[in-house]
Amino acid sequence: MKPPRTQQFLGRDSYRMRRVMDAARILPLFGLILLLLPLMRHSPEFEAPPTATESVYLFAVWAALILAAFLFSLWLRRALDQPERRADPSDPIADTDGKED
């Protein structure tokens, strides 16, 4: 018989929330890199720049960024509602929001 599954983390929800915050911080960087890809795809030896294809690509990346931001905002909204910086006993190494200097 398998042992019953045990909960490893008490604060699963708040742990997930902080990872979404991380993702929200990385998103713009990720977006920037995707937006810079057209620079590396094409060499000027071609006769005309492939503007049509690139525009489809760029608008697709743009739409994906909007969608990702929308999904993140659903999570982050809840983080805004809670009083921030509340001590979380289940996760002693709580991430801090502001950068420490």
Partner: protein, 909 residues
């Protein structure tokens, strides 16, 4: 299309905006601003980013350089999608510190330094003025393109005239809705709502032209894509440097542009709105950009060679005979230009008035040792003047440059200018070590480089910089040429300037911060800004205050106005668990007052004004330790304890006050008992004595007998009156009184009270100041009881006012459903330690002989007012004794006795 029709359309549209804005203002005033403050309106208002430069210029840009136009919208998209990193913190800090502009933000962070405020203001005006000129140009140009009838064409081609009327109209609109009142946090629901409407119009207009082009001119998306490739020019090649640089630049601009700061930070009311805008605003930009390239491509294909691609949005529908669509698109362009000008001039005017004019005026005033008078009107007039000034500058700039082609590039040049604020701003948010000197150095250095390498040369050779200087550098030093500083010749001028200005800016900022030593306030503010999410409460920069609340109240009254200031002081006092208008001067209170002032006049000015009154701010080592402590974790836990102990101390303060009051009352009660026995005894004694005389003496003359009987009669009346008063009070206190509620006119009641009270010390001649018009209010209440209160207050004043030439001011005002009547005399007033007691029973401040009453008058007044659902309070600091009687406009009759007892139970709480 005829010129008149076009002008009429514009006017009709503007009238619509006026209606929308004033409806929004009225809704906000009535507290029904719910939907006005929705995330949707917030997101739409952000669209002031899309100016006429977007609406017309993007298509032209796309026709010339292909996909590069997208960079201007991709940068902001990245910033908003990554709102959790920068914008959230910026908005939170802005709201908690009641920041009024980007200049205010930077000045507040760096020790509330006005120097920085001035630098940022000047920078923003230099960058903003040409931008405003660009909008005026685009409106004027669109008129010219549109009008085809010969009759109107002479008017329509007079672009300076059109630009003038547009500028004047926009100034009027901005003044009407942007400077209505000195708002506590500089928010303008009317303007924001109008901007949101304009956002919808310009988006729909551009989408309509786009849909027309894609599905009616071309046969669909696939067709458009083939046409794009067919039209692609070699110049459309994406240039790596410009692509990356422009994405970066527009990302910086969306944070630093004064108008964007205004709508993003200053007008924000809720973090949740930002969460919505994080995806909704990029979506807006996405939709705005979607059809730009198709319109450009079809325009290049169909329009005659040599036509201006900047006007394709307008000329293409016209060319294809779609006049209605063209008119709609004209309105879209008009919206884009006007919304930008309104918000930009509002933001710039706030900066000019808060950081330049008001501080100068205050300094001039304090140098001459004058009282500062009522400042509200001054600040508002200055702001109105500044709006006119900013728009005037834009107009003059447009006339001087004559709508040259140089203007078209000004959008990006302005971006580089405002980008100079970025290092100081980011430093403000994330670097505790950033200092005022560093920020000032960085800003000035970056601004100078921007001027030299971009703005001045952009006018062309021999306008500001000589052709020779531009060609070979000053003193023939090639390394100092404006367009290739230090031999950097491969970058294009825009990137070249962006690179050098930001580089030098950041270097000067870091060096200045590292080498200088910040003042205490700077360190406190720095900790406050950087650790905004790690801190339970706000940090204090005020300790050991020396001023009295009485000194601060008049100052606050000058800025907020009488009622606003008084209710703020009262609320603060209540927060401390005190009654009345004067809170204890705790550091927290001074902090709250400063924050409120900052919302009206900017943080630097607010701090200076308080420093003038309170004395220099002293930040103790303890306070510094508290805020500079790196152990945020410990703070977190101690915060809860702190909150608890604060509550305890508040309760203790309440208890202490109650105890003091009880002790005084007990002493008074004893005194009263002997007083009342004395009062009862005196008439009793004389009654007994005279009645004995009457009994004993038989041979008494009739007149003598009458005289004695008269005395007995008078004395018994005095007794009865005393007992009546006591009875009255007891009835009132138990809420058993029968109110006789009737309609009445307040003026008549006051008239009656004045003539009735004239008999008290009739020999004293009181000068009355009253406004009979304002008193003309119809009320429903117990007129007899209310008049009794008025008479009592007026008689008291006649009795106790010790001025040589006694005066009485009666002010009446309506506040919502309440009416307030102030009675203010010019006597010595009531000493502070007695204020809490005057409404108590049996209290009498002066000697009993002088007063000739039992000290029940004000106690009865208070009970009456409570029964009338109103109140009577003493207002300190008005230059004499001042009583405020407030009561509801319409008193509801009580229907059952049970509710009456409930009411009195509530009142007792």
């Amino acid at each position: 299309m005829s010129f008149n029709l076009l002008v009429l359309t514009c006017l009709g549209y503007v009238v619509l905006l006026f209606v929308v804005a004033s409806a929004a203002e009225r809704a906000a005033e009535a507290g029904r601003a719910g939907w006005l403050r929705s995330p949707l309106v917030y997101t739409l208002s952000l669209s002031v980013y899309c100016t006429a430069w977007t609406f017309y210029g993007a298509v032209g840009y796309a026709a010339r350089s292909g996909l590069e136009f997208m960079t201007i919208y991709l940068g902001p998209t990245l910033v908003f999608v990554g709102w959790w990193v920068i914008l959230r913190k910026l908005v939170r800090i802005g709201r908690e510190n009641r920041v009024t502009s980007i200049a205010d933000m930077i000045s507040a962070r760096y020790g509330k330094s006005n120097l920085l405020g001035v630098i940022v203001t000047i920078l923003c005006i230099m960058a903003g003025t040409p931008y405003i000129a660009l909008q005026l140009q685009s409106i004027a140009q669109s008129f010219t393109v549109f009008v085809t009838d010969p009759a109107g064409s002479s008017l329509a081609t007079d672009t300076t005239l059109i630009a003038f009327w547009v500028a004047a109209g926009l100034a009027f609109f901005t003044i009407a809705f942007g400077t209505r009142s000195l708002d506590a946090n500089e928010q303008h629901p009317g303007v924001v709502t109008a901007i949101a409407v304009e956002a919808v119009v310009k988006l729909l207009a551009l989408l309509a032209v786009g849909v027309f082009v894609v599905w009616f001119v071309a046969t669909g998306p696939a067709d458009i894509l083939t046409r794009i490739d067919a039209q692609a020019l070699p110049e459309w090649e994406i240039q790596p440097g410009r692509w990356t640089g422009l994405i970066l630049l527009s990302a910086i601009a969306i944070i630093c542009l004064p108008r964007m700061f205004q709508v993003t930070v200053v007008e924000n009311t809720d973090d949740q709105h930002l969460a919505t805008a994080s995806w909704a605003f990029p979506l807006y930009l996405f939709l705005i950009s979607l059809f730009v390239l198709p319109i450009a491509v079809i325009g290049m294909e169909l329009m005659p060679a040599g036509s201006n691609p900047d006007m394709f949005v307008l000329t293409l529908p016209l060319h294809l005979g779609q006049d209605g669509l063209a008119l709609f698109s004209f309105l879209g362009g008009f919206s884009a230009a006007t919304s930008m000008v309104i918000v930009a001039s509002l933001a710039l005017a706030t900066m000019v008035s808060n950081h330049i004019v008001v501080p100068l005026w205050l300094r001039a005033r304090s140098a001459r040792q004058q009282d500062t008078g009522d400042m509200r009107l001054l600040v508002l007039s200055v702001r109105r003047l500044s709006i006119t000034l900013v728009l005037g500058l834009g107009y003059i700039y447009y006339v001087i440059t004559g709508g040259s082609a140089a203007l078209a590039a000004i959008g990006l040049i302005a971006f580089v200018g405002v980008a100079q604020c970025l290092p100081a701003l980011i430093g403000a948010l994330y670097w505790r070590g950033a200092s005022r000197n560093g920020a000032a150095l960085g800003l000035v250095a970056g601004m100078l480089i921007w001027l030299y390498t971009l703005l001045l040369p952009s006018f062309g050779p021999d306008v500001f910089l000589s052709a020779r200087l531009m060609e070979s550098g000053p003193f023939d030093i090639a390394w100092l040429r404006p367009y290739s500083l230090f031999g950097l010749t491969t970058l294009d001028p825009l990137l070249h300037s962006l690179f050098w200005s930001l580089m030098v800016n950041v270097m000067a900022f870091c060096a200045g911060s590292i080498l200088s030593f910040p003042s205490p306030i700077e360190r406190v503010q720095g900790a406050l800004f950087v650790d905004i999410f790690n801190r339970p409460g706000t940090a204090r920069s005020w300790t050991r205050p020396i001023a009295e609340a009485e000194d601060l109240l008049p100052m606050a009254q000058r800025i907020f106005g009488l009622t606003e200031a008084q209710s703020f002081f009262r609320a603060q006092a209540k927060l401390q668990g005190k009654d009345g208008f004067l809170p204890d001067i705790t550091p927290e209170f001074v902090e709250a007052l400063e924050l409120k002032l900052a919302g009206s006049v900017g943080s630097a000015t607010a701090h200076a004004m308080l420093a003038q009154t309170v004395g220099t701010s002293i930040v103790s080592v303890d306070d510094l330790m508290a805020v500079a402590s790196e152990t945020a974790q410990i703070m977190e836990y101690s915060a809860q304890l702190e909150a608890k102990s604060e509550e305890l101390s508040r309760t203790a303060r309440k208890l202490r006050e109650a105890n003091e009051k009880l002790q005084t009352l007990s002493v008074q009660k004893d005194a009263f008992l002997s007083q009342i026995s004395h009062e009862l005894r005196t008439p009793m004694t004389s009654i007994r004595a005279f009645s004995e005389i009457l009994m004993d003496a038989d041979g008494m003359a009739d007149e003598e007998r009458t005289h004695f009987a008269q005395i007995i009669h008078d004395e018994s009346i005095r007794l009865t009156r005393l007992l009546d008063d006591l009875l009255d009070l007891s009835v009132l206190e138990h809420g058993q009184v029968q109110l006789n509620i009737t309609p009445a006119n307040l003026r008549e009641l006051i008239d009656k009270a004045i003539s009735a009270s004239n008999s008290v010390q009739a020999e004293r001649n009181f000068t009355l100041h009253r406004s009979r018009d304002r008193e003309d209010i119809e009320i429903i209440t117990d007129a007899g009881r209310l008049t009794q209160v008025f008479i009592n207050v007026l008689s008291n004043s006649r009795k106790y006012c010790d001025a040589a030439e006694p005066q009485m001011r009666i002010n009446v005002r309506r506040r919502g459903e309440m009416v307030e009547v102030d009675f203010i005399d010019n006597g010595a007033g009531i000493p502070r330690d007695q204020e809490a007691l005057i409404f108590e029973k049996f209290s009498r401040l002066t000697d009993s002989l002088q007063a000739g009453g039992a000290g029940l008058g004000l106690a009865i007044c208070r009970e009456i007012m409570l029964n009338l659902k109103g109140d009577i309070t003493y207002v300190p600091g008005q230059g004499g004794a001042a009583f405020r009687v407030s009561f509801p406009l319409r008193l509801q009759a009580r229907d059952t006795s049970s509710s009456a007892s409930l009411d009195s139970a509530e009142a007792a709480e």
